[in-house]
Symmetry: C2
Subunit: 349 residues, 2 copies
């Protein structure tokens, strides 16, 4: 993999593509002067956007393709028919060592399927997982898996814990992150077999993170731990529930403040404080889900984001490239592998 | 089952027991003048609370027991050792036809285990489920299962849909409720096998509700459907995540409004509107989770509630007693049973 800061971008994925992609590059360039971009997509649509940012063409190489993956295309179909798509070509660039990581705001399922197919799963990991971070009372936390795997066994969950901890060290800057296993109660006897067994392995093992035991859904907003580990079904439900309730509150608040003239004056006075709250909860600041466990950095931006949000997804990719994720998880994977091996040998009790 | 409005209450369950239980009876009595209560618990602790509400002894029969189930007792242990406990005796009163329903704010797992053991599962239902309602943008919705069953097959999910719809008709007053199956995407191919098969059965069948297909976590706050159906693991995670995010927002708002003198003035002006928001989100108004699918009405109150909240749990019990839940789900269970039978016969396609 190249050590220069070259990333490949899917110019055509997302509701506001390609303008928010090009706008995102312009924002990211201010942060990373050494950035180079391989930009895959329809030149006829990209060129007018590039023209709005003078000098940007110095760091961007447009690689033209007319094909793009639709937002409702099935992963299997995208794999079969999308060989020349902007998303697939951007992933190929990582495989071929031209880029150190890829960012796309396109179809999540297609991106996961293509990235797995092209880049393959990292040694020691059975299944890649999707991770993201979100605001909490204490600051920020990460959660995985967010939907890549609906059924998970205990080994998958332990590997998610190892990968999530490395992600938190790199992205949240926590040296020894706390990791919690999502469950429906904190006692050892609670939950399904996968969760109980994974809890046992994590309690008994020695890893480069602090295992905090079982946590529950209401710990997510509280930020009780740095990393929440769960299967892709519950994780997807949890992160989307959290987003939905946040929207519910924002909507109720807006209605409350608009309900009378006095309320509007009250709002105007409290606005600076409320704006700080809004900034803390700004979904653009948390944009950038990662697929962990592949041979390469793959970041999924929210489809509905703008240039500022897309630039945040680029930040995540840059952090992961510089943080050397694969190396960081290696020690813990070896420890886990050794523990697995000793468990499968007959022991005298 | 008796048609008079006699309910049995566990006086000793909950953080503020027995005073919030006795206080809750006093509130409920104003709403239901025909109410009679069998109150199980420690007479020495109940009597001083009763003395605060003159005349309440006319409708309350105290049945003394010194035993109470601890909040951290395991369900199996509670079953074995709790035969004379206030919780168990209150459930027995329903079994024996002395009371039409029971309410307890005690240990959830113990209540579920004892109620299942004493009252048995209703005919046509494989597993009882825990259901509750919560505030949404549109009003209120219900969700089940909230944690009674960590692993669910497709038949369980279909039965939850049938029971949840009947619950919504009684508690939310919706004549033909909409029911959604919680999933990690809305397309037919998404999710695990149980969810996909249940989706197929609900799409193909004719039931006394509107099946709205798959819904996602962010539909919970939006109130897209009246009833959300899912397994007990995801349901527990979702409802607790929602509670946690609501607390996160409330905390942030309080901080924002206290951050400066100007903000405080703004808060004072906007207070009436914010108080309406708070009333809409008041957890006490949503207090009262039901165990559906047992031969009898069993309501679990939040452990930390006050008299007002406990009275709401009594409301739920009264509605369910009067709404004749068992009769309402019967037609749909027969339809589902017929569909199951025809599926298991060899058919010529």
């Amino acid at each position: 993999m190249s050590t220069s800061l070259t990333i490949s971008l899917d110019a055509m994925g997302g509701d506001n593509a390609p303008d928010m992609v090009v706008g995102g590059i312009a924002v990211a360039r201010e942060r990373y002067p050494e950035l180079k971009v391989l930009l895959y997509g329809d030149k006829a649509k990209i060129d007018p956007e590039m023209a709005k940012h003078p000098g940007l063409s110095e760091i961007v190489e447009i690689r033209h393709t007319e094909k793009a993956i639709g937002s409702d295309e099935q992963p299997a179909q995208a794999l079969r028919r999308g060989r020349d798509s902007s998303m697939r070509l951007a992933i190929n660039a990582v495989k071929e060592g031209e880029a150190a990581g890829v960012v796309s705001a396109g179809n999540t399922g297609a991106l996961m399927a293509m990235a797995k197919y092209v880049l393959k799963t990292q040694s020691g990991i059975d299944r890649p997982a999707m991770v993201s971070f979100f605001p909490t009372t204490r600051g920020e936390s990460a959660m995985l898996d967010l939907g890549a795997n609906v059924d998970c066994d205990s080994n998958n969950l332990v590997q998610f814990a190892i990968m999530g901890a490395a992600f938190a060290r790199i992205e949240l800057g926590v040296e020894r992150p706390t990791v919690g296993l999502l469950n429906i109660g904190v006692e050892d006897v609670k939950g399904n077999d996968a969760v109980k067994t994974a809890g046992q392995i994590l309690r008994d093992g020695e890893f480069d993170f602090e295992f905090a035991g079982f946590v529950e859904g209401d710990d997510i907003g509280a930020g009780t731990v740095d990393v929440y580990v769960t299967d892709g079904f519950s994780g997807n439900v949890a992160i989307k529930t959290a987003e939905g309730i946040a929207r519910l509150y924002t909507g109720f608040l807006n209605d409350a403040f608009r309900s009378s003239l006095i309320s509007k004056i009250g709002y105007a006075l409290a606005k600076p404080a409320l704006d700080r709250l809004r900034a803390h909860m700004d979904p653009r600041a948390y944009n950038g889900a990662m697929f962990l466990g592949l041979n390469g950095v793959v970041v999924k931006s929210h489809g509905g984001t703008d240039a500022k949000g897309f630039a945040h997804a680029i930040d995540v990719a840059v952090d992961m490239i510089r943080g050397d994720f694969a190396e960081r998880i290696n020690t813990d994977l070896v420890r886990f592998g050794a523990a697995e091996q000793s468990n499968s040998e007959p022991v005298a009790s």
